[in-house]
């Protein structure tokens, strides 16, 4: 254990056990996130937002370039960019999965005075996600023709 022994904040105040001369405060180690699988996947979830933000920033720049100089616009087709996009897609899917699974935890709905099972709420979220993806994909392909 590493940390420091510090004077008790309640010294002399007569607040029971906290009135001892010193207490030992342990610091949270820098590698705390590697101690448990739950912590690790939490950090992965949080970290995936960064490359996704970079990809979206790139997309905004591309859209502006296409709007300002449509004749000279050449979208990125390098292997590196495609690979980066695939990685970002995987991150986005992981984010969507965790977010939609969370819906089953936080949404509390009652029908006929009985709570709707969490699984049903999660399944309905995934179904809506699939329908929305199909509709958006169809619209994009339709306009691109």
């Amino acid at each position: 254990m590493t940390g420091e022994a510090i004077p008790s904040p309640h010294k002399g105040e007569g607040k029971g056990e906290g009135s001892s001369t010193r207490v030992y405060r342990r610091p949270v180690p820098a590698g705390w996130w590697a101690r448990r699988s739950h912590y690790f996947w939490y950090i992965v979830r949080e970290f995936t937002a960064l490359p996704m933000a970079l990809w979206l920033l790139w997309l905004l720049i591309d859209i502006r370039s296409a709007a300002v100089r449509p004749v000279n616009f050449h979208p990125q087709t390098s292997i590196a960019f495609v690979a980066f996009s695939v990685v970002c897609l995987a991150f986005a899917l992981y984010h969507s999965f965790t977010f939609l699974s969370l819906a089953g935890v936080i949404i509390h709905v009652k029908v006929l005075d009985r709570p709707v099972p969490s699984r049903l709420i999660v399944l309905s979220q995934f179904a809506l996600w699939a329908v929305a993806s199909i509709v958006i994909g169809f619209v994009l392909i339709w306009f691109a023709r």
Binding site: A5, G18, Y24, V28, H38, Y39
Partner: protein, 258 residues
């Protein structure tokens, strides 16, 4: 055949002599498969080293006193069986994220202040004398908060929460779960008194949903759920035009009608 033994490595810290905790090893008889880590500590205290300090009381997972880190995981030591660790040694340390007073005893003052700040009791706008009326509550209404009322204040969720470890100002899982327990209670009218605490930046919004608090809870309470649900409710109260109205008062059954 030689009697079965198990090694317990316990953290020791004497505030008057030690700069930092040290580990001390004890080999004790492991005579019975029903022995729990707390039994091992009690054996050490009674037969090996009477100076070992730790909290315990009920031995049956009710009082929430004997929470410690067992092999790095927050556990009630009365509910952690030695058979699950044998023949490897069992490492027992004080709960993470709390100042250590002595050996395995932590300073719980911070938690007690936070618990008190959310007013975990039924608040009525107008108190009535006992027997003047009873507040009707259906089974369905009880089911709304029953899970959160199982909290025994053992603080394992605080020891598992890295957010609390990194920022002690965070209200934390158990206090929020108990605030939600009373906010969901149809007899309670204290939501507006608790909101300034739970909806502050050190309240629910500090939580980034690691979720380990719900994993380690020995009573099956889901504090992460309580926090996320409170985030949703608070946002709805802010966004929706009728969100800030008072909750509908519960029906009362006058004594003479009963």
């Amino acid at each position: 055949m030689a009697p079965k033994k198990i090694t317990i490595q316990a953290a020791r810290f004497d505030p008057e002599h030690d700069e930092r905790p040290r580990m001390q090893s004890y080999e004790i008889p492991f005579s019975d498969d029903s022995m729990v880590v707390l039994d091992g500590l009690n054996y050490i205290k009674a037969h090996v080293d009477g100076s070992l300090s730790y909290r315990w009381s009920c031995r049956m997972g009710i009082c929430g006193s004997c929470g410690m880190m067992v092999n790095g995981t927050p556990k009630l030591t009365c509910n952690a069986f030695l058979r699950d660790y044998w023949p490897r040694p069992v490492v027992v340390e004080p709960l993470n994220n709390f100042p250590v007073i002595r050996d395995l005893v932590i300073d719980m003052d911070d938690f007690m202040h936070k618990l008190q700040s959310v007013k975990p009791w039924i608040i009525r706008k107008e108190e009535m004398p006992l027997g003047a009326a009873e507040h009707i509550q259906t089974t369905s209404q009880i089911d709304d908060f029953r899970q959160f009322s199982q909290c025994i204040n053992c603080m394992l969720c605080y020891a598992a929460c890295p957010v609390y470890g990194l920022n002690n100002e965070f209200l934390g899982p158990a206090a929020t779960a108990l605030a939600r327990r009373y906010n969901l209670d149809s007899r309670d009218q204290g939501l507006k008194q608790r909101l300034p605490v739970i909806a502050s930046s050190e309240g629910i919004w500090e939580c980034s949903f690691v979720g380990e608090c719900s994993v380690v809870c020995p009573k099956g309470v889901d504090p992460a759920k309580a926090i996320q649900q409170t985030k949703l409710d608070t946002t709805m109260r802010f966004v929706l035009p009728y969100g800030n109205r008072d909750p509908e008062p519960p029906r009362q059954l006058e004594a003479e009608e009963a």
